[in-house]
Amino acid sequence: MAFISSGYNPEKPMENRISDIGPRKYDEFLPPVIKKNYGQWLYHEILEPGVLMHKAESGDEVYSVRVGAARLMSVGLIREMCAIADKHCGGHLRFTTRNNVEFMVDSKAKVKPLMDDLKSRKFPGGSLKFPIGGTGASTPNMVHTQGWQHCHTPATDAAGPVKAVMDEVFEYFTSMKLPASVRLALACCLNMCGAVHCSDIAVVGIHRKPPLKDHAVLDQICEIPLAVAACPTAAIRPTKIEIDGKQRNTVAIKDERCMFCGNCYTMCAALPLADAEGDGCAIMVGGKVSNRLSMPKFSKVVVAYVPNEPPRWPSLTKVIKQILEAYAKDARKYERVGEWAERIGWEKFFEVTGLPFTHHLIDDFRDHAYYTWRQSTQFKW
């Protein structure tokens, strides 16, 4: 394609350069009813799954219809959303912090035509473009990362497993029959971009083999001290090696100290460790960020490894469904997954969900591992 200049002059890169202007101010894009009643909301109701009504002191009402979105989307799909917003919502819409989309209208009469329109739209493959749901005690969208789409350190994919999981738990997205909201999250490596460490059910990509060492180029493309300092278990040390009769600086890795976090690869491109058979997912449960009833919690590893099985990750989706259904059946109202597991005890959690307990789940990282062991005789057989 021919080059089309935007007006930028590569000969004078700093000329006419605009910088540090920040994002547009949020109130430029507020629907009129939101702008008018800003800070004066009285109460809200969830009318049905995916539909909220907020009442203002002035008596104004705003109806929000929340729809699921794949997060990774084309300009074509965004244009389609804009067309819907133009048609029903005066050109306004918003994205939630879980990457759902909300269409807002200012009267009840406008809700049904909007919902009918949203429900009628499907991709050629048959999936719903704008499934309505994600409110109340449901499984709203799955917060996720880049995976094999764009990142160089993943141990699993993101978009693929998220689609597989959301297909499996779709009935919980479009209903509100769980004891409390169940937040799902996925991160494709231990960097844990997103919300994996604080979600009710979370998936994180893990490796099971130590890095390969590209000695021939390591000292040229890596800052060796950074690679050494990147290791949480101090498995890496600088060393010298002879290649083709030439002394080279490189690193040595103590494999029995390596737990395959991949942090050294993040810092040093000569230490790749992705592996088709070795890589897979760990599943964590019980995290939350809200302060409601109990304090925020970290999620805890309950399944050390399920293999990567593209394109549908059947083992992964099966385990997640298993946990979700056991929780839905057993937990009390308002109880998040972590609160439920802590109330019944983790040994009961494993019994109820039918998950096997393996030695991998016992914390062995530094001093604080001790506090995760049981210094009590209180347990259930």
């Binding site: 700093m14 040229q220 800052e223 810092m267």
Partner: protein
Amino acid sequence: MASVEFKGKSFEIDEDGFLQRFEDWSPEWVDYVKESEGIKELSDEHQKVIEFLQDYYKKNGIAPMVRILSKVTGYKLKHIYELFPSGPGKGACKMAGLPKPTGCV
């Protein structure tokens, strides 16, 4: 692996234009890169930054933290950006022949 020819010298570079080997660095390299980094004329201040980065790298095996670069050269970050519009990593380190910065950048 791409390699570029400039003033009779050959440099092996990666896709971001960083030198593949620190030993390949020569003053011609700076001349070659400065254009793409938005630098017309090389001043003493540019030289001072480049020399410090190279000294630090030879001594410590890593690029200095931005705070150290500022403290030793006496140039505030704002001034470093005035010298190297792409910043200390993509601009100055590349011209000094240091390895490409890594991590979540």
